[in-house]
Every structure is written in structure tokens, then in C-alpha cells.
Amino acid sequence: MGGHPVIRSSTVTEGVVTLSLAGSRLDAANAAEFKEALARTIDEGQTRIVLDMAGIAFVDSSGLGALVGVLKRLGSRGDLALAAVQPAVQKALKLTRMDRVFQIFPDTDSAATKLRG
């Protein structure tokens, strides 16, 4: 763990922050770091968040748990959307019923548009 930032880039446009994840996995090796990075983002007042998952080819239960943790931290204060979810990750979300919990969009633009509502 450590050494590699879990967030590759962060762009704020019209009140919505789009975060692009670094690396190709969100798993037990970086889930805690991811959760902390997102907690900082939320605590800085960025509460409408789009996660660009385009580069993520694999998510395990620790990664899913971290995503759930972010959603719970946001609570009614904000919104979280997943964008550009890859097929293997989509499958893991479906298997764990998380596709019913998260808002999932084909790309970051449609996700950001929805969050701006």
C-alpha cells in the first residue's frame, strides 16, 4: 500500500467533481486508501461525485465495501455516481446486488449531468 496515489485526476465542473481512479484494480490493497481519499474530498465540501471507472478492470468485495462506505459517508449530503464501468466490474456489482445501490452511467458526462440535476 502507499506510494501510488489512488486518484489519478480530479476535475470540478459546475459543482460536480469527477475523480478518475489510478491503476486497474480497486481491491483489498488500495480500498482503505481509496476510502480515505474520498472522505477527504467529501469533507472538503465536494459532495456531488462522479467516479470514472473506465480504467478499473477488477473490483473485489473490499473495493465494493469501500464504495459502500463512501455512499454512507455522503448520506443525504450528496450524490455518488459510477461512470464507464467495465464488464467484469459490472458483473461483480450485479452479483453483489450493488447495481441496485449505485447510480451507474455509461460515461462521465451523463453521470455529471444527472448529478447537476
Binding site: M1, F58, V101
Partner: protein, 146 residues
């Protein structure tokens, strides 16, 4: 009868799971159907994470061996470690529910889905305590060979 078997030895570090993933992708390529391989990637990650978290209590540097057996009857992953024995009835007794209520955010669990994910992806889970070793065999009867 096992037609082919492959083994990788790693240590109890979550970063090592990525090495297992690369190994599995490598040995599975051309041998195992891609959709089955996706499931096996999830299964092996959850199984190794469980060993690190529960059998070794996150103590680093302890040995874990992962064996992939490919046979006409199916595919089996065998995980072996020398950590603490799991509670009686394992693994069935520790399988949680994957059901969720999207309207009740507070009740959503942050953890505890690992074994349920494994159970969803495989046909059979067998655990034996072999001396001071734990051995978990996870089998897919479905012939995922290419």
C-alpha cells in the same frame, strides 16, 4: 483426473493478490473460458483476502499457496495456508447474505461479502484442516476449458 495443474506461492500481503491475478490470467489464457476466468479472478482474490484477514490476522510474510487444477470434470482452485483454523462449519457457516435494501443505506454492510461471492461463483466448497494447514478447495463442475 487432473489434466493440468499450476501452482503459485505467495506471502500474506494484499498486494500479492495482484500477482496471483496475473498468474491466473497467464495460465488460464487459452485454457479457460474468459467468463469463467473472470469468476475465478474474483474467487481467488476473495479467498486469498480471507486467508490474510482471518487465518493470518494480517500478519505479513506468511505463506499461501494457490493451485489451479484443470480436468475434464471441472476446474478446482486449492488454497493452502498455515494460519489459524476457521470456526466449525466453515466455510458454509460464514457465508453472509448478498441481499440488499437499496432504500436502507444505513443497513448496508461495508464488509462480509467475500464468501458469499465465492459461493455464488463455484459449485462446491470443501475445507479440511490438514495438520497445521488449512486447505480450501473451490470447484466448478462446469467445463470452462477452451
Amino acid at each position: 483426473m487432473t489434466d493440468e495443474a499450476f501452482t503459485i506461492d505467495i506471502v500474506s500481503d494484499y498486494a500479492e493478490v495482484r500477482r496471483v491475478a496475473e498468474w491466473l490470467a497467464d495460465v488460464g489464457k487459452g485454457r479457460i473460458d474468459e467468463a469463467v476466468l473472470d469468476d475465478l479472478q474474483l474467487v481467488v482474490a476473495e479467498a486469498v483476502n480471507n486467508i490474510i484477514r482471518h487465518a493470518y490476522r494480517e500478519e505479513p510474510g506468511r505463506p499461501i499457496s494457490v493451485r489451479l487444477e484443470i480436468a475434464a470434470a471441472g476446474i478446482t482452485l486449492v488454497l493452502r495456508d498455515s494460519g489459524q483454523a476457521p470456526p466449525p462449519g466453515f466455510p458454509q457457516s460464514k457465508v453472509g447474505s448478498l441481499e440488499v435494501d437499496p432504500s436502507d443505506l444505513a443497513a448496508l454492510a461495508d464488509s462480509g461479502r467475500g464468501l458469499a461471492i465465492i459461493k455464488s461463483c463455484v459449485d462446491q466448497m470443501d475445507y479440511v484442516r490438514d495438520g497445521s494447514f488449512n486447505e480450501l478447495s473451490l470447484s466448478l463442475r462446469h467445463d470452462g476449458r477452451q
